[in-house]
């Protein structure tokens, strides 16, 4: 039960993230939803590489060779960096749209729907 807790967290975060993206119309909240979803996937990757009792995978002067996997951490780090860039661009789009339209609600952005 306790060992599965991280996976349950992933599920909960995924559901929260997806439902925000699908149900909310405020762009800032949609951006938050995308971020939560990314965190869920990042957590999944980290958990997959975790070994109970393992140490950080640094071989220099390592007291033991039972280590957590380094690759998932590298993947996760890359994904976080991409996430930052994504969030920045999304928020700057939202900012420009707020200036032009006076709203961040996607339902009110109707210029392209005529």
């Amino acid at each position: 039960m306790f060992a599965n807790l991280p996976y349950l967290t992933v599920v909960v975060l995924t559901v929260i993230g997806l439902s925000i993206i699908l149900l909310k119309r405020n762009m800032v909240k949609v951006t938050m939803g995308l971020n939560i979803l990314t965190s869920a996937v990042n957590l999944l990757i980290i958990v997959l590489g975790y070994r109970e009792g393992g140490i950080a995978p640094i071989y220099t002067l390592a007291p033991q060779t039972y280590m957590v996997l380094p690759t998932p951490q590298a993947l996760c780090l890359t994904s976080i960096v991409i996430g930052v860039a994504t969030t920045a661009l999304l928020l700057s789009f939202t900012m420009v749209i707020y200036r032009k339209y006076g709203t961040v609600n996607v339902a009110e952005m109707r210029e392209l729907k005529e």
């Binding site: 999944l44 990757i45 998932p72 994904s79 999304l90 789009f93 939202t94 032009k100 210029e111 392209l112």
Partner: protein, 524 residues
């Protein structure tokens, strides 16, 4: 004649050159605007030359495996690694090489066109950086042999194209289109990352060849397959995930749109690559093949019917782009549906796949050409509404000729390239299921009808008083369009030679999973 380091490192340099050139752009632009133009053109030419060189070597000497950071550039499995490919690996086979050819051709013509078309805009420092970044990411997507690397390039292409779509930031609509595109693209990216987590958790590998050799096709792999199809078909702009396409294509600057078509096709390439190389026979080929066929038929039909009532010339072309993507899905999907059945595969499956793949390169060229002509018209006339155009044929003769070539090619009229690939699709799909072939032909006729209307309302009729002083598009723009138009005719006149030398090796590379695995893992 060709220096040794090119023989060793060309695949890596095809990504590195535009990537480094991109970030030097703003710096050079600080001092001289002309210098920046020359720099961008030189970078695009160098990238295209490297891509063509890589493709040429792959076509003559077989799959090219390039290992980043290895002592020997093609040492994919080091002797002390225990038979596991470590490091990031680029694997350029004939299918990737075909995509490289597309990027080389369209990338260079589009840059040439853009230097003149977008030369007067403000904020050019960032514009060409993003442009070259997009080229670099497409090259990376089509040549990588590593799933996570594919994801990174996928995200770079999403970021760069969304920023380019929203580039005309002064018009709120462009940002709206960019936002729509980017939310969809980010969601697709998260799905891809999820796929990577699922596959890595089961097989402890990120290399596509390694994953394929360990593939068990468990329940989780089926979920991963659904996510892959969902994510990549969305980015390729297939119905029912097409809603971002018309907005993004219509509001991006025209040169960007022509490149976005190629970016979408890189996603399509990713879809085909993962289905055929990662899963291949382990999946239920008939079911997945039919999924692709249904997506294809829906895209074809919905795309063209939505295109007919459009008034905005670029929006209309964007819907046609969706419709043409359907042909590729139909062709390759038919090949996939008969994958397990050798007799049917040889009878028509291979030909259907060749038709679908041939259509990818043809589409990139003629659709790029059409978007560039639309851009030239908008550049001179200043409106995108076709009802307000008319009689432009009197003043813009070259643009009219190029538009005609593109329009006849997309409608599948001989002797242009669209005819060659569509004929292959009709013939082979007819043997598989006559109804599908008939739908494809009807869509082609509707396409022709739609473009006749467009042609008439833009170019025909008496010269309108407000367009009396409209001039022909600038020379650099004409050259950009001319390269593509010449290729449309060339591919249309010699389809057999193109198919034999470019397309058949690509289709075989896609079908030959064990060959792909062997070139990385050795004889295993």
């Amino acid at each position: 004649m060709i220096p040794q380091f090119l023989w060793d490192h060309a695949p890596a340099m095809t990504v590195a050159v535009p990537l480094l050139a991109a970030f030097l752009c703003p710096l050079i632009g600080k001092f001289t605007a002309t210098g920046r133009k020359a720099w961008v053109l030189a970078a695009a030419a160098a990238t295209s030359a490297l891509a063509l060189f890589t493709a040429w070597r792959v076509y003559t000497m077989g799959t090219w495996v390039y290992v980043f950071g290895a002592t020997v550039p093609n040492l994919s499995v080091p002797p002390d690694s225990g038979g596991i490919p470590i490091r990031i690996i680029f694997e350029v086979d004939a299918m990737s090489a075909l995509m490289l050819v597309i990027v080389a051709i369209v990338g260079f013509s589009v840059i040439l066109y853009s230097l003149s078309a977008d030369g007067k805009r403000s904020g050019l420092e960032g514009y060409y950086t993003l442009f070259l970044l997009l080229i670099a990411s497409i090259v990376g997507m089509v040549s990588t042999g590593d799933l996570f690397n594919f994801f990174v390039f996928f995200e770079i292409s999403g970021l760069a194209s969304a920023a380019l779509v929203a580039y005309r930031v002064e018009a709120g609509r462009a940002v709206e289109a960019g936002l729509k595109y980017f939310v969809v693209s980010t969601l697709a990216g998260i799905f891809m990352l999820f796929v990577i987590a699922i596959l890595y958790g089961q097989y402890n590998a990120l290399n596509i060849a390694m994953l394929a050799s360990r593939m068990q096709f468990t329940m989780l792999d089926k979920i991963a397959l659904v996510l892959i199809i969902g994510a990549l078909a969305t980015k390729a702009g297939s119905v029912p995930m097409h809603f971002w396409t018309p907005d993004a294509y219509a509001l991006a600057p025209s040169s960007v749109t022509a490149l976005l078509v190629v970016a979408s096709q890189a996603s399509l390439y990713g879809l085909f690559r993962l289905i055929f190389t990662l899963y291949n026979l382990s999946l239920n080929a008939a079911t997945v093949g039919w999924v692709l066929i249904i997506l294809g038929v829906l895209s074809m039909f919905v795309g063209v019917t939505m295109a007919i009532p459009q008034k905005d010339v670029k929006r209309l072309m964007a819907y046609h782009a969706i419709s043409q993507t359907g042909y590729m899905l139909l062709g390759v999907g038919t090949g996939l549906a008969v994958l397990g059945n050798v007799a049917m595969l040889d009878a028509f499956g291979r030909m259907a796949m060749e038709g679908g793949i041939f259509h990818i390169i043809n589409h990139a060229i003629y659709k790029g050409l059409l978007f560039l002509t639309a851009g030239a018209i908008i550049y001179r006339v200043g409106t995108r509404d076709m009802n307000r155009m008319g009689g432009l044929g009197h003043r813009m003769k070259w643009t009219m000729i190029f538009f005609m070539i593109g329009a006849l090619a997309i409608a599948g009229i001989p002797p242009f390239n669209g005819f060659a690939s569509k004929l292959m699709i009709y013939e082979s799909v007819y043997l598989f299921n006559p109804v599908l072939a008939i739908i494809a032909m009807v869509v082609s006729i509707l396409t022709l009808a739609s473009f006749v209307k467009v042609f008439h309302s833009i170019f025909m009729g008496p010269q309108l008083p407000e367009y009396e002083h409209v001039e022909e598009a600038p020379t650099a723009m004409l050259w950009g369009m001319g390269i593509l138009a010449a290729l449309v005719i060339l591919f249309g006149l010699f389809p057999q030679q193109v198919v034999d030398s470019l397309i058949t090796p690509a289709a075989n590379a896609l079908l030959d999973q064990s060959g792909y695995l062997a070139s990385i893992l050795g004889g295993a």
